[in-house]
């Protein structure tokens, strides 16, 4: 179905949401991507990716508590949905399948 494709950056964000296990929101997804991947992105980019993932049904969100640390604003916490997880693992297995088909000489570039 059109619109359920997973973009490269969306995949990173979706994975991060999974990694952070129910505690995922803008700032810590940003940190996670910076720490583990080494990519510096703006928080608005992450929000946009989350918005698209939610529209596709791969993540669900709920409001966390507000705090002084956020200037009185609530957190929007994200967690991965079943369908999101399935899409993620499907992407992974598809990739592995392709990896297996890669001829041996590939080590030359490793």
């Amino acid at each position: 179905m059109k619109g359920t494709q997973l973009g490269e950056f969306e995949e990173l964000v979706l994975l991060s949401v999974g990694v952070l296990n129910g505690q995922a929101y803008g700032v810590n997804i940003l940190d996670n991507i910076l720490e583990n991947i080494g990519r510096k992105v703006t928080v608005s980019t992450i929000h946009t990716a989350l918005y698209r993932l939610e529209k596709k049904g791969f993540v669900s969100s709920y409001y966390g508590g507000e705090s002084n640390k956020r200037g009185g604003r609530r957190k929007r916490l994200y967690e991965i949905t079943a369908i999101g997880f399935r899409t993620l693992s499907e992407a992974k297995s598809q990739r592995e399948k392709l990896w297996k088909l890669l001829p041996n000489f590939s080590f030359n570039y490793a």
Partner: protein, 861 residues
């Protein structure tokens, strides 16, 4: 307490981002901000925050002015608009055609105005280029200047460079010569001053050497259709000096663009001119050249007063008291030269303003029409609005709906208007004798046109929308059926404005028409009918002018012949000074050489003195006849027999002629001195005049041509004096046609609107009118019911329009030294015309009403 992020950034964020996302976005940004304070300091943290806010804009989280799904709403609003349009077809068509005509007329005017304003704008150095205009001691301004003026300006103001050009008709080629009227002798810096591209040759040196010749591409093509003219040596015959030169083609220039005031076909080195015309270099009286001045490139501001003061001082030192000059920006040549003698003014700023004003008024009329018709029909759409309101529609979305509808109409009309212009631009150009083109509009100008349409649409939509929404609030509940408009005050005002504009335009067009008629029928003071002249441009042929004249006079049908150095209407090419008293300032006069019987032939009587004295048979230039204007300046009670000094020669005044207009009524009659001149000079007679009395014109032409061909290889040019005077008023004729057409468009639009309104009123009052009919009301009473409002509005509009029309009419007439004057009957005519058309419009509607069967209308009650 931690420091806060910039307040305005936070505010902006809250303004732009909607509720669904603000918690997440602002919270996350704040968290990052706090972290940034610890790591990189408050200043940078605030900076980062601001940038993050500015780049956080995303469409999906934008706050919408109307919380609806825009796509869907647009679709349905369009659908509703189209359905309404089809349902009330007559109204929609009136709306559409009114707007289309208005937009088409405005577009055509805009094209015209843009073309006028674009004149001479293509010169790269335009901000530093000026034309020097000579100012005589009597204050008159002249485009032709002596060659010394440019040199004097160059020496007085270091860094100023002058470029002089002088027109001189030539004939190129040996066996099949080509006459080139727009030929100029020019200084060698011509191509560095002006941005006329040179296709072949070096722009710096092309005009340096004597005998060098630059041709335009089209002339070169005509002369050498098959070969390359560049570098060729060709024979050139100079008419005025009667010289034959061998000139070398040193450059091929691109044809000057249409929007250039300087229109040359060929250029030659100024060196040739100074060799040929002896007085050119050192005489202050040989006013012939156009002098252009290029200011230094680093010049930021030009002080006109300081320039005139310094130049006046310098000229006084040189012995030229009272003479001065000013610099006219090159870009003002086209529109601001009306008061300059021979200033090449083809148009004026007044015309541009006038056209612009008419265009805006027409657009206003058509927009008012739209608003009026729309709000008048409001009640027919009340059902729809009430249901929308009941279903919880926002007021803003109703407004938006009207806006979209208005935009739809405006753009549809713009499309039709554009089509109209594309189809009609050819015929319109032919009618008005203009060269307006739609291709000259640049991208940005299109952008402005579209923006203007957008603004127009939004304006019309907002006004009608607001009125409806307000009407809606005043009608509480769902009492749809007995909706009655409480007040139609604003509609009456809008209609009044339309009437004011219509009356104003009608008055203006009548005034322009009367002025044109006045000028065409003006008694010029001599007999212009049945008078023809044959110009002889070839200086060599002028030696034979007496012989040709004699032979012409033998043709049957020719009553009398004479010669003159000026055409009629005259350009007065030869200005000089007249000294009548050594203690007084000399006066500027125009000098014309004529035949002895000139005044008899063209039909001017002498009021004083007699014809040219026989005493000076040999030295005929010593006997002069002057006109009334010259006499007035000399101021003496009797001037006959007085010896005066004209152009450095002592002459005797023999007579004074009765007043007559030697040129068009655009300019005042200046002091003129007539003398009898022989052939061979610059000021010799070069026109043969023939008084004819015949109906066999073809035979006359044939015989004249036969005579002519004995002397010249050029074709004969036979001109009618009366026709040439008519063509002098071509600009007025065009203005008259333009204002007439535009006024008719405006009137049609306004009365289309009136027809719509009347139709609506009849529809609203139809039951009242039917009951009146049944009760036996005469038709007159029904007319009264329907037209009493109109009469009131019309009278008030008249009171406003008349003073306005009077004021602007007076101002416009002041441009003409000889004008018809503002006659109050013009106002009465305008009012009468508007009233008559209104009466016809109302009458048509009432006639239709009288044939309606009242029973059919009242059946439902």
């Amino acid at each position: 307490m931690p420091e806060n992020p910039p307040k305005w950034a936070k505010l902006l964020l809250n303004k732009v981002c909607n509720d669904r996302f603000i918690d997440e976005l602002e919270g996350d940004l704040y968290e990052l901000f706090l972290r940034d304070i610890d790591t990189i300091g408050i200043r940078k943290a605030r900076w980062n925050y601001t940038w993050a806010v500015l780049f956080s804009f995303r469409f999906y989280r934008m706050k919408l002015p109307i919380p609806l799904n825009i796509q869907l709403m647009l679709k349905f609003n369009l659908l509703i608009a189209i359905r309404h349009g089809v349902k009330n077809l007559s109204f929609s068509l009136i709306n559409l055609f009114g707007l289309s005509f208005g937009i088409a007329a405005t577009l055509y005017i805009a094209l015209f105005a843009l073309r006028e304003l674009n004149y001479d704008q293509f010169h790269e150095n335009k901000s530093n280029l000026y034309r020097a205009i000579l100012v005589n001691n009597n204050g008159s301004k002249h485009r032709p200047t002596p060659s010394l003026l440019g040199e004097t300006i160059e020496t007085t103001f270091p860094g100023y460079k002058s470029c002089r050009i002088g027109q001189d008709p030539i004939k190129i080629g040996a066996d099949n010569p080509l006459l080139i009227k727009e030929f100029y002798w020019s200084d060698s810096n011509f191509f560095s001053c002006f941005s006329f591209p040179l296709l072949r040759g070096n722009p710096k040196t092309a005009l340096k050497e004597p005998n060098s010749l630059v041709l335009t591409a089209s002339v070169a093509k005509k002369l050498f259709p098959d070969s390359d003219p560049f570098g060729k040596v060709i024979d050139v015959k100079i008419y005025d000096s009667d010289k034959l030169l061998s000139m070398k083609v040193t450059g091929i220039a691109a044809d000057p663009p249409n929007n250039s005031t300087i229109q040359f076909q060929g250029l030659g080195s100024m060196q040739n001119a100074t060799d040929m015309y002896v007085n050119l270099v050192d005489s202050w009286y040989f006013s012939w050249l156009s002098t252009f001045i290029r200011l230094p490139d680093d010049n930021k501001s030009f002080d006109a007063d300081a320039f005139s003061d310094a130049l006046g001082e310098k000229l006084e030192k040189l012995g030229q008291d009272g003479l001065n000059a000013y610099l006219q920006p090159l870009t003002e040549m086209h529109l601001h030269s009306k008061d300059i003698v021979k200033g090449d003014a083809q148009s004026s700023m007044d015309t541009v303003y006038m056209m612009g004003a008419i265009g805006l008024l027409i657009l206003l009329i058509s927009v008012l029409n739209y608003i009026n018709l729309n709000t008048a029909r409001a009640f027919t759409r009340l059902d729809e609005l009430k249901i929308k309101e009941a279903l919880g529609s926002y007021k803003s979305s109703i407004l938006l709906q009207y806006m979209i509808e208005a935009l739809l109409y405006v753009f549809l009309s713009a499309f039709i208007g554009l089509l109209l212009i594309i189809i009609l631009i050819g015929p319109l150009n032919r009618l008005f004798d203009l060269e307006v083109s739609i291709n000259t509009i640049s991208f940005w100008q299109w952008f402005y046109v579209i923006m203007a349409l957008l603004v127009t649409g939004i304006f019309a939509g907002t006004i009608s929308g607001f009125k409806l929404v307000r009407g809606l609030i005043s009608q509480k509940g769902l009492r749809i059926t007995n909706y009655k408009e409480k007040s139609s005050g604003s509609r009456k005002i809008l209609m009044g404005v339309q009437y004011v504009i219509t009356i104003f335009l009608t008055t203006s067009t009548l005034l322009v028409y009367l002025q044109f008629q006045y000028m065409s029928n003006y008694n010029l003071g001599f007999k212009a009918e049945q008078l023809i002249y044959v110009p002889i441009d070839d200086r060599g042929l002028q030696q034979n002018i007496t012989t040709i004249k004699e032979q012409f006079s033998k043709i049957p049908g020719v009553v009398a012949t004479t010669v003159s150095g000026e055409k009629l209407p005259s350009e007065m090419n030869n200005s000089t000074m007249l000294t009548f008293d050594n203690s007084k300032d000399p006066i500027g006069v125009d000098l014309v050489s004529v035949g002895r019987d000139y005044f008899d032939v063209i039909g001017i009587n002498l009021v004083e003195g007699r014809q040219f004295s026989k005493k000076y048979e040999v030295d005929s230039a010593r006997s002069i006849i002057i006109n009334q204007q010259a006499k007035k300046l000399i101021g003496d009670a009797s001037v006959i027999g007085k010896l005066v000094d004209v152009d450095g020669l002592q002459r005797e005044i023999n007579g004074v002629i009765e007043p007559h207009h030697y040129s068009s009524l655009h300019s005042k009659v200046h002091p003129v001195v007539y003398f009898v001149g022989g052939p061979g000079n610059r000021d010799s007679p070069d026109n043969i005049y023939l008084r004819i009395e015949t109906t066999q014109l073809n035979e006359l032409y044939d015989r004249m041509t036969a005579v002519w061909e004995k002397f010249s290889a050029d074709p004969i040019a036979i001109n009618y004096v009366s026709k040439d005077f008519e063509t002098a008023y071509a600009a007025e004729k065009r203005l008259m046609l333009l204002t007439n057409t535009l006024t008719i468009v405006a009137i049609v639009i306004a009365f289309l609107g009136l027809f719509g309104l009347i139709t609506f009123m009849v529809r609203q009052k139809i039951k009242e009118l039917c009951i009146r009919k049944i009760l036996g009301a005469p038709i007159l009473q029904i007319v009264k019911v329907l037209s009493s409002d109109f009469l009131l509005i019309f009278s008030i509009s008249t009171l406003i329009a008349c003073p306005l029309a009077y004021k602007f009419g007076k101002e416009w007439l002041a441009n003409y030294p000889y004008n018809t004057g503002f006659d109050f009957s013009i106002l009465l005519w305008a009012i009468g015309i508007c009233l008559l058309i209104s009466a016809i419009v109302i009458g048509i509607r009432i006639l239709r009403l009288s044939s309606v069967n009242p029973a059919k209308i009242l059946r439902n009650e």
